[in-house]
Symmetry: C2
Subunit: 362 residues, 2 copies
Amino acid sequence: MNVKTELITFNTGMALENGHKLDSFELMVESYGKLNKTKTNAILVCHAFSGNHHASGKNKVNEIGWWDEIIGPNKSIDTNKYYVVCCNNLGGCSGSSGPKSINPSSNKPYGSNFPLVTVSDWVNSQKMLMEKLDIPYWHFVVGGSLGGMQALQWSIAYPDKIKKAGIFAAAAKSSTQNIAMNEVARESIRKDHNFHDGNYLEHGVIPKNGIKTARMLGHITYLSEQHMNQRFGRKFQDDSSKVGLDVDFEVENYLQYKGEKFSEIFDANTYILMTKAMDGYDAASKSDDLSSALKGVLAELLIIGFYSDWLYPPERGKEIQIAAMNNNIKSSYVVLNGEHGHDSFLFHSDKYSQIISKFIES
Amino acid sequence: MNVKTELITFNTGMALENGHKLDSFELMVESYGKLNKTKTNAILVCHAFSGNHHASGKNKVNEIGWWDEIIGPNKSIDTNKYYVVCCNNLGGCSGSSGPKSINPSSNKPYGSNFPLVTVSDWVNSQKMLMEKLDIPYWHFVVGGSLGGMQALQWSIAYPDKIKKAGIFAAAAKSSTQNIAMNEVARESIRKDHNFHDGNYLEHGVIPKNGIKTARMLGHITYLSEQHMNQRFGRKFQDDSSKVGLDVDFEVENYLQYKGEKFSEIFDANTYILMTKAMDGYDAASKSDDLSSALKGVLAELLIIGFYSDWLYPPERGKEIQIAAMNNNIKSSYVVLNGEHGHDSFLFHSDKYSQIISKFIES
């Protein structure tokens, strides 16, 4: 597989939705496969809240890409046939410009001064990336969760630059409960003693505890209740492998472990920025309703939900499907079993993978 | 209404389930109405996680009791007819012995050294209270959520001391997801900079931020998603009444406000202790299964669930009902609409109130 990882600079800068102007910015980009001569085989993969540009294969430090079960040679998104592009979103913490970057006006990390970006801003930056890569249009823009919101927004914002969109485990807007959960996560970060109003890097510390708590909560919302019951039930953690003194149950140990790991790699300001973008997205915010918002869409849509997903349950996909039908948009809506709750979109299953590859080829 | 609020001391002490012995302890007790001459009209009301002894009417500082919609003259639990007793659970923070109490062996607050108590311990202490009050048996033991667990445990532990049990919005054991959510709440408290391993009182501080985050999360789990959607939707908070700079949506403001209020009155060690008791309870822990556990039950059961409750959904009540039926226990299981999610058990509705009063009178 032809893999290319590069940091691309956009010196022209970009006007953000909130009125702020970024004078210049960088995107960390990874691509797989090759653009064909007719330039008709480009696919944009959009990452979810805590993802990054590394979607497939192993990178230099042997980490497997977050969507490796779906993207690769002879996989659903077949890198033998398609040129697949994935970038770390603006505001991220995996190489693209974000709160960890140096603010040229102060020569210090942006911290909490990095502007709040939106799903629309990401789509606009990805449009600039498309042009930079000399791609005339995307054959397919796809993502799960927050990535699905970007795919939907692409179909709305640039109808003639996208042939097909894949919107998986996503919604046209976050629910009240989604926002509420994210606010708890943000609260735990902001109130970490080491947060320093977001300028922790200047103080040489990171708000690890806050990020850990936030992730533990997030993790619960990504899994299905049934899956947790089956995997952990009410089993007690054996003493020898307890990560904390206060741990009684296996599920506590698991969450502690996962939260701790995540807190070592993820940036707190990015956590806040990404959840704010997720909460703030409403595909219909500039229209009367979702049907009106989708009026100009030309792309064919594939909407996939999972029964066990309680974060963005299947009903949220159905809302998009109904709005698509109201506009005579060619659209397919499928609900799959998926054992892994919201995270189901990350994993291969024969049905899921086949639906994706057939849709791309159709 | 005849109301009595008193602190009762138990000098004989009590052996706890975990092997620890409390040499003496105190319970803060409130009662309504009068014990009749035949001593057949006593009702024990057990409080949920953050409740206390003050269940009905207004207290000295004008606070309305947590179950005032259900308990009072001519209400479902009619204090004109019944002698209703409610105590702050052992380990609580409203007057009963708990982490805030002075440890006689150190002359400092117990803090995190207060022993972890269990639902069984509470039931045992309430049995001692019953004897102290010269009550031969309870006509009815009732509670919602963690209070319902105590009512269930009463029917198992002291079958000849309880005629009827009311188990509302409860379960015979917490689910994996319940435990997971509580662990996130505990984590936010333990990692508060002011927690000091639970000995914050000695340091003259309280881990307010941790309690606040914990309560914000808890609050989400007590409300139904639909109720939150209807009440808050995606409405933005107007600037003039924002409680924090980072607040965008009304639901954020609401949770911030509720969390803040709670953090000013509730004790962090009690939060940990109560959630540990909730997580740890399993009515069948000493039996093969729930049916075996209920074998000796003599009380008549009233099990009520609420469709909108996703913390202890109706299925959890059904498990108790099935186990009761397997033992030919006289038992009624009802699922009501209840708009308020898990919290529905707290509120009056004509149907709910009528079911309770008919059951008590039957």
